[in-house]
Symmetry: C2
Subunit: 273 residues, 2 copies
């Protein structure tokens, strides 16, 4: 017969935990003095407590431990398999975090802190859009002017920001894109599409004039390198806030200054891994 403190020193399970295990019915003392409430344990409790500690060290929750202590049937392996899968998952997640932290540290070594791109990976939903493709040399603002005008005339403008698809290496075109709320008829070279969802999109928000975007893109690609990610699909430039000039169709040279009111997001679709 041990009192709780002795039993705790013995098993290296804290008094608090023993009381907690008593409360949730995991490991109840052999005897409780009805007058004083003192818990008295015996060595007979040790095998059970030992199993509890083992399962706890395996990372099971207390409710699962309670389950496992009752059942000794065949789908015991199922429970272990499930725990194993959860652990594999956790390890993978932590290792991804670790790689990300290491990549950021390395980039911190040869980049000014302010130039570090804040790259976040998140899913991006599909959206219904109107698109207008032009040559890489076309005035993007002019493309948007035509596109926005058309969509507004159809009363189909969705409350989401416009974007462009950047030209890919093998391609010399830029595509202006405007989200819409429902299907409208295509017109001339304006097409209506469902822009596919991207499960893993690397996103970085940039505040400042458009002249800074190429540098940001370069740093993002550098980031991809460091973290071992591979781009998959066209890069999106999302104009979260753009100057009134863009809407008015003024030449884009107006937009290259150091302007803090412009907010743009670069999005690079990532390949699964």
């Amino acid at each position: 017969m041990f009192r709780i403190g002795e039993f705790a020193r013995f098993t290296r399970v804290s008094v608090k935990m023993l009381r907690h295990y008593d409360e949730v019915g995991l490991c109840q003392p052999a005897q409780v003095d009805p007058a004083t409430g003192y818990r008295y344990y015996t060595v007979d409790q040790l095998p059970r407590l030992n199993r509890i500690v083992l399962l706890r060290d395996l990372g099971f929750g207390l409710d699962q431990i309670a389950d496992l202590l009752i059942r000794d049937d065949a789908d015991l392996d199922r429970v272990y398999a499930q725990r194993e899968a959860a652990l594999v998952d956790s390890v993978a997640r932590l290792q991804a975090q670790l790689r990300a932290v290491q990549a950021r540290r390395e980039m911190l070594r040869d980049t000014a802190p302010d130039d570090l791109p804040d790259v976040v990976v998140r899913p991006v939903d599909s959206m219904l859009v109107a698109t207008l493709t032009g040559g890489a040399d076309d005035d993007v603002a002019a493309l948007f002017y035509r596109l926005e005008s058309y969509v507004r005339d159809q009363h189909a403008r969705a409350g989401r920001p416009p974007l462009t698809l950047l030209p890919e290496p093998d391609d010399e075109t830029v595509t202006a894109i405007v989200p819409i709320t429902w299907l409208v008829p295509p017109a001339d070279d304006i097409e209506i599409k469902l822009l596919a969802a991207v499960p893993r999109m690397a996103c970085a928000v940039y505040q400042g004039g458009y002249a800074g975007l190429p540098g940001l893109l370069q740093r993002m690609l550098h980031w991809l390198d460091r973290t071992g990610e591979r781009p998959a699909g066209p890069i999106r430039e999302v104009y979260l806030r753009f100057g009134a000039e863009a809407e008015l169709g003024l030449p884009s040279t107006f937009l290259t200054g150091g302007r803090d009111d412009l907010v743009t997001e670069l999005q690079v679709p990532l390949a699964d891994r």
Copy 2:
């Protein structure tokens, strides 16, 4: 100007989180309607929120994120290094759990569930003891009888269970050990020692006759194999509850039946890794 729901869909940060970040001062809306309490966000918040999400994905706590958002000084790398170390630690811990779960699953495949040893790794404190070493063929009960008698005569018996050190391969001796409360003079071949602490001791509790112990030991060594642990030092057999016969010096053949009142713990010291 976005209301909170729109901003949430946009950034894929839940409304709950945005309110939470507001409350803790991490990311406050650009404007709050004083009459209604409605939060209004602008795209200017995006860079900051993006950084918050990035740091959160790196596994930083919200308080650390708040720190990191203020400081852009040189010991920023220290914070990242610290986070990296914590991650390395977590990964190692989870991988250890994973190995343990896998080992248990594998052993479950070719062992009856009841025969699975519940092996727990825990530190064991040093203790002051009286020891008496005999040949492997000596009657262990007789050794204990002499030892317990001597210690009791000195009024030095500590309230901890007696144990033996099992013979090692190169050695043919068994050592009986009894914990004591303070230094007493040695006598004959009874020695007084400080049994060293063991930081990582593999422990398994066994309930039943002593005939079952060799099998348990074998399964424990099998477990060591599976988990890649290496034994380091003599194996201890701790008699958590033993029959009155042992104290009375009766022949040990009395103790080999299928007796559930006997509780014994096998302890294998593990090498660091």
